[in-house]
């Protein structure tokens, strides 16, 4: 049992299989919502799954001028980073599959892995579009990563802990940290758009400018893995934001303590799933309502209008606590 539980956590829930399944579902929700907002019908529920299988069943091409090893491994690293981070984010109760002091920092750094891997994969494709896309990935990372980190520090300071599970547990009585750190929450949400490279921050993949950026040379299963990584990252990063600011699986009036463990877990998971889908809804809304901005505008805007509010909120928390 001692060996099986961790393996279950990594491969089934909340890791590998769960992330893929829920990621595909969230991707359908996103596509359907955007289609509805654009006055279209939108794809059927099974569509993301069909896309995945189809991509896996495509020929795999590695361009001759690309660095084979880096080209092949980059998507794996991205995917592994996201799956690994899911273990430390509370998914069904305040307690994550595993937690320790400092797992917040580990998760934040694991979640930057897709961006770094995308940079490496694009860079070693040695394609002009991929190279420019890769540079953009990195520039954009500089723009959103610090504000995201600072925003996540808000709840950490408010909860007085470095463990996501403890931070979530501190909100069990209903005192969500969105109240203590409203600015940080907004900053985290906007930085999340940058992290997931979605409109208006889909600059690294900008289809009409650099075709699809770092992913341009990828085909078949490697492209599928890139798509999966970002789908899974949507879930994990949304769950992280929910855990830090929105009380994770908690909700007012639901007496988790009185329920049997399995029911509490199930209800917690459903509550969290709803919160994740709300965040996805926000992402779809921005995607439907905004145009893509330029990389220089993005970096400047982010550091100024995300960095400073996050710092201000941190300052407020530090001084009110002391």
């Amino acid at each position: 049992m001692q060996v099986l539980t961790p393996l279950f956590h990594v491969f089934v829930f909340p890791g590998f299989l769960f992330l893929i399944a829920f990621g595909l579902f969230a991707s359908w929700v996103d596509r359907k919502l955007v289609a509805k907002m654009q006055n279209r019908v939108g794809p059927p529920l099974i569509q993301p799954f069909a896309d995945l299988i189809k991509l896996l069943a495509k020929e795999d091409i590695i361009p001759e001028s690309a660095n084979r090893a880096m080209f092949a491994v980059a998507p794996l690293v991205a995917f592994a980073g996201v799956v690994a981070s899911a273990i430390y984010v509370p998914m069904w109760s305040a307690q994550a599959a595993n937690s320790f002091q400092g797992d917040l920092i580990v998760v934040i750094y694991l979640l930057t892995l897709p961006a770094f891997a995308l940079f490496l994969g694009g860079w070693y494709s040695t394609n002009p579009f991929a190279t420019i896309g890769a540079t953009r990935v990195l520039s954009q990372l500089f723009g959103y990563e610090v504000p995201f980190f600072l925003a996540c520090l808000g709840p950490a300071l408010a909860g007085g802990s470095w463990s996501i599970s403890e931070i979530t547990a501190a909100q069990a009585d209903g005192g969500w940290f969105i109240a203590a750190a409203p600015l940080s929450f907004i900053v985290a949400m906007i930085a999340l758009i940058g992290k997931l490279e979605r409109v208006p921050f889909d600059i690294p993949q900008a289809k009409t400018e650099i075709v699809s950026g770092p992913e341009v040379e990828y085909t078949g299963k490697r492209l599928a893995l890139w798509k999966l990584s970002f789908l899974a990252e949507t879930i994990v990063a949304s769950a992280l934001i929910a855990a830090l600011f929105l009380g994770g699986p908690h909700f007012w009036g639901i007496p988790f303590g009185d329920m049997p463990a399995w029911l509490a877990g199930l209800v917690g998971l459903i509550v969290l799933a709803v919160k994740i889908l709300l965040i996805v809804f926000f992402l779809s809304l921005t995607r439907a309502a905004l145009a893509r901005i330029r990389i220089d505008q993005m970096v400047e805007w982010c550091l100024l209008w995300l960095g400073i509010p996050a710092l201000v909120n941190l300052g407020i928390i530090i001084f009110t606590m002391s």
Partner: protein, 388 residues
């Protein structure tokens, strides 16, 4: 600092047409731009002088799928001028209506594409949804969604029936209202402004020097519109302003185009009001007398010029087409130089490029071996110096 060679086209999502733009980029900045055209060269001018006047109508229509009506109309004007034929008045009004319909459809299409280029998918979807209204009207009037084949030598092919008029009026009222809404979006949506304001700037003076035409020229503050300066058809009888903008950037061009949609709706309404009853076409001689003529027309992208020379047979001796995109290309290269890579698609799209109109080519045939080859510009210059 090493520069990266950054190709756009012939197959690129930002371009719906195959064209090769080469940019020298330093990080995100465009240092130099060059264009290589000729991928869509379909030898139309040559083919025109191998077919008779009526067949050429079909060919000229297919110069461009978006401004097809402008091409046939222009061609007909030139040929009719050589033949000295005055077409029925009602036909002139119907030609004008088709001309303005096409302007509406083309400008809306452009607005959608502009949204697409800056990643504003919803604008793209909404504009194209509304564009279907004008497509339906065009289909109702002419029988086809594109390549309407409305214009023929000696008039127009179909009349606009009274029951169509009410539908057209309804459609125009709707489109006018939508165009006003899009003009509002263009000036109020923050991300749209960020991407269009101050992008692709080219001054009116430069525009004139480089020979730019149409909305590009007007958006740089030069009030030139063939419909007003050299009125053709019945344009001297309708009221419409020549829209200009002092902004000189992509936003200016957007506004000029959106306002022209509104004007086009108004012109169409006036035409429907003033149109007299009568024939819509007349018999046109198969052989055209010897002579030559130039016709100019304000198509949606700018001035189109047709030069037709006849030698008295039923086949024209020469048909020469000058299209607005070719005239606007030098200005478009000025727009992207010194800008960001991200601005290339939108700045370039802001001239509403249509390469199928513009394509010219130089082909070098080695007579002895029969090989044809392409040459770089430097090689060509060297060759021309040697020969001269």
């Amino acid at each position: 600092m090493a520069k990266l060679d950054f190709p756009v086209g012939p197959q690129h999502p930002a371009l719906k047409e195959p064209e090769n733009l080469r940019f020298s980029v330093d990080g995100e900045l465009v240092v130099d731009a060059d264009i290589r055209i000729g991928y869509v060269h379909r030898s139309i001018e040559r083919s025109c002088s191998e077919r008779n006047f009526v067949q050429d109508l079909y060919l000229c229509e297919r110069v461009c799928g978006i401004c097809s009506n402008a091409h046939t109309q222009n061609y007909c004007q030139a040929v009719e001028a050589i033949a000295g034929v005055e077409i029925p008045e009602r036909a002139q009004w119907i030609r004008m209506i088709m001309h303005e319909f096409e302007r509406i459809h083309s400008h809306l299409l452009w607005l959608g594409v502009a949204g697409h280029e800056i990643g504003f998918e919803s604008l793209f979807m909404y504009v194209w949804r509304d564009r279907e209204v004008i497509q339906d009207i065009l289909e109702m009037v002419s029988g086809n969604r594109g390549h309407y084949a409305m214009t023929m030598l000696g008039g127009v092919r179909y009349d606009i029936a009274p029951e169509m008029v009410t539908k057209i009026r309804e459609g125009l009222a709707f489109l006018r209202q939508r165009a006003e809404y899009y003009a509002d979006i263009a000036t109020s949506e923050q991300t749209f402004l960020e991407r269009t304001s101050g992008v692709g700037v080219v001054s009116g003076e430069t525009c004139v020097q480089l020979g730019a035409v149409g909305p590009v020229l007007r958006a740089s503050g030069v009030a030139f519109d063939v419909r007003r300066t050299f009125p053709y058809l019945q344009y001297d009888k309708v009221e419409f302003p020549v829209r200009t903008s002092e902004l000189c950037d992509v936003l200016g061009r957007t506004l000029v185009r959106v306002q022209e949609v509104i004007d086009a709706c108004d012109i169409c309404t006036q035409c429907l009001d003033m149109m007299p009853e009568g024939d819509v076409n007349m018999r046109f001689p198969r052989k055209v007398p010897e002579g030559e003529a130039v016709a100019r027309i304000e198509a949606q992208r700018g001035e189109v010029i047709y030069y037709v020379r006849s030698n008295g047979t039923d086949v024209p001796e020469r048909v020469k087409i000058r299209t607005p995109t070719l005239a606007n290309l030098p200005a478009s290269l000025e727009m992207v130089k010194g800008g960001y890579i991200a601005d290339i698609p939108i700045a370039f799209a802001s001239i509403d490029p249509c390469f199928s109109c513009a394509d010219r080519m130089v082909e070098l045939n080695d007579v002895s071996s029969g090989d044809s080859r392409t040459m770089t510009w430097a090689e060509l210059v060297k060759l021309s110096r040697r020969k001269s």
